[in-house]
Each structure stands twice: as C-alpha cells, then as structure tokens.
Amino acid sequence: MQYKFEVEGGNFSKAGTASSEVKKILNQLNVDYKLIKRIVVALYEAEVNIVAHANKGIIDVDIDTERIKLVLNDSGPGIPNIEKAMEAGFSTATQKVREMGFGAGMGLPNIKRNADILNISSETGKGTSVEIIVFLKP
C-alpha cells in the first residue's frame, strides 16, 4: 500500500497532519500498538523538520507485510553536516520555532531511536531526503 502526503514549509498549524493520517491507517491495519507508537514518533519528528526548515516536502509511505518505509523528500536548505545534526541538542531552528517548544535538537535522535533503519542524504541549498524503515514483524 502506498500513500503520499504533501508538507508545507513554515505552516505549523498543519504540522503533524500526515503523521496523524498514517497513525489512522496503521490502526486500521491492526498494526501492533508499540510499533505504531515508534512509527508515529519518528514520522512526526521528520514531518516537523520539513515544516521548520524546508520550503516544502513530500512524504511517501509504503507499507507491506514486512515493513513500513517512510521517505521524506524536501526542497530546503539541506544539512551541511549530517553527523553534527544527529547530535542530541544540536539545532539550527529559529528563535520563533524554539519558542514554540521545537528546536531543542531532539528530533533526529528521536527518529534514530524509533527507526530500525534511518538513512539521510542531503545536498546543501537543494534539500534533504530522509528514509525511515520500521519492521512490522519481530
């Protein structure tokens, strides 16, 4: 099963919409609650990263019996140093975003902790691609 969601950069009032839709789909598919929790945390953080940093993005969701694969492609500033971005506490979020309680440098570590596989590729000035895989079978 495949689904596609568009994410609008800068629009915090819609942040989490795609994650919420994916949660509903996974509930309908009777996916184990613990797995849904992990998937939703990882996806929400990645979705908010697009809202906070990029101009726009697309989320492709691909679910089969073995795994769920989430691919988030954005057109945005890109990440110059991915290793640095993965460090807990490191953030390039604006003051406005921080005041909302985002931008504490916990997003990518949260994704890493909840994903079975996380791949990030990025080109400065062009955008970032984040691939998150969670296995649905033990």
């Binding site: 915090f12 009032s13 942040a15 989490g16 994650s19 919420s20 949660k23 929790k37 939703v40 945390v41 929400y44 953080e45 908010v48 909302m100 309680g101 985002f102 504490a104 916990m106 997003g107 949260n110 902790r113």
Partner: protein, 110 residues
Amino acid sequence: MKVNEIVEKLGLKIFSGEKGLAKEISGGYVCDLLSDVMGHADQGNIWITLQTHKNVMAIASLKDLAAVVIVKGFEPEPDALEKSNEEEIPILGTDLESFEITGKIYELLK
C-alpha cells in the same frame, strides 16, 4: 483516576474537549519541549505545560494522552481548542505554576 476527578479535586478550568473528561489517567508528564514529550510521554498521561498552540494537541493526539493542563493562567489558542474538541482530549487550565500543580496532581495519582 479519571480526568474529571482531577478537575473537580483541584478546581481546574475546562477550556475544551469535554467529551474526553472520562478518560483514565495513567500518570503525568511535565515539559515544554515538544520533542521530549513526543519521545517520552506515555499513553494516558496528563501533560503539564505552558505551551498554548495547536501543535500541543497534535502531540497529545499522536501520543494518546489523557489531557493537557496549561499553567500560569495562560489560555490555549483557538485552533488548539478546536483540535482538542475534535480529538476529545481535554485542555485544562490552572493559575498555578508547573511545580505547584504537578505536586498536587502527583499527590492525587500516587
């Protein structure tokens, strides 16, 4: 303990999400950093925060929280109220600071 029992015992204000007042509370979480709540709050928790915007409700819904308590007399933004009603997760309010209201809720839940 249910959300409405805590509301009654502590005199909390109910801003929205009345349909969720019968939800059972599993415990609490106190933080204003959204990613920390996203990463560490548990299902059924009551969340104490000073954040008032709609994303609070997105997180409350995604994490299946029981209710949100907004501290220090702050008021939720209109789109947060709307989302709270839609998701049936109450937004409650108190004039107390996080430390004080957390202590009182802890006493009731422990």
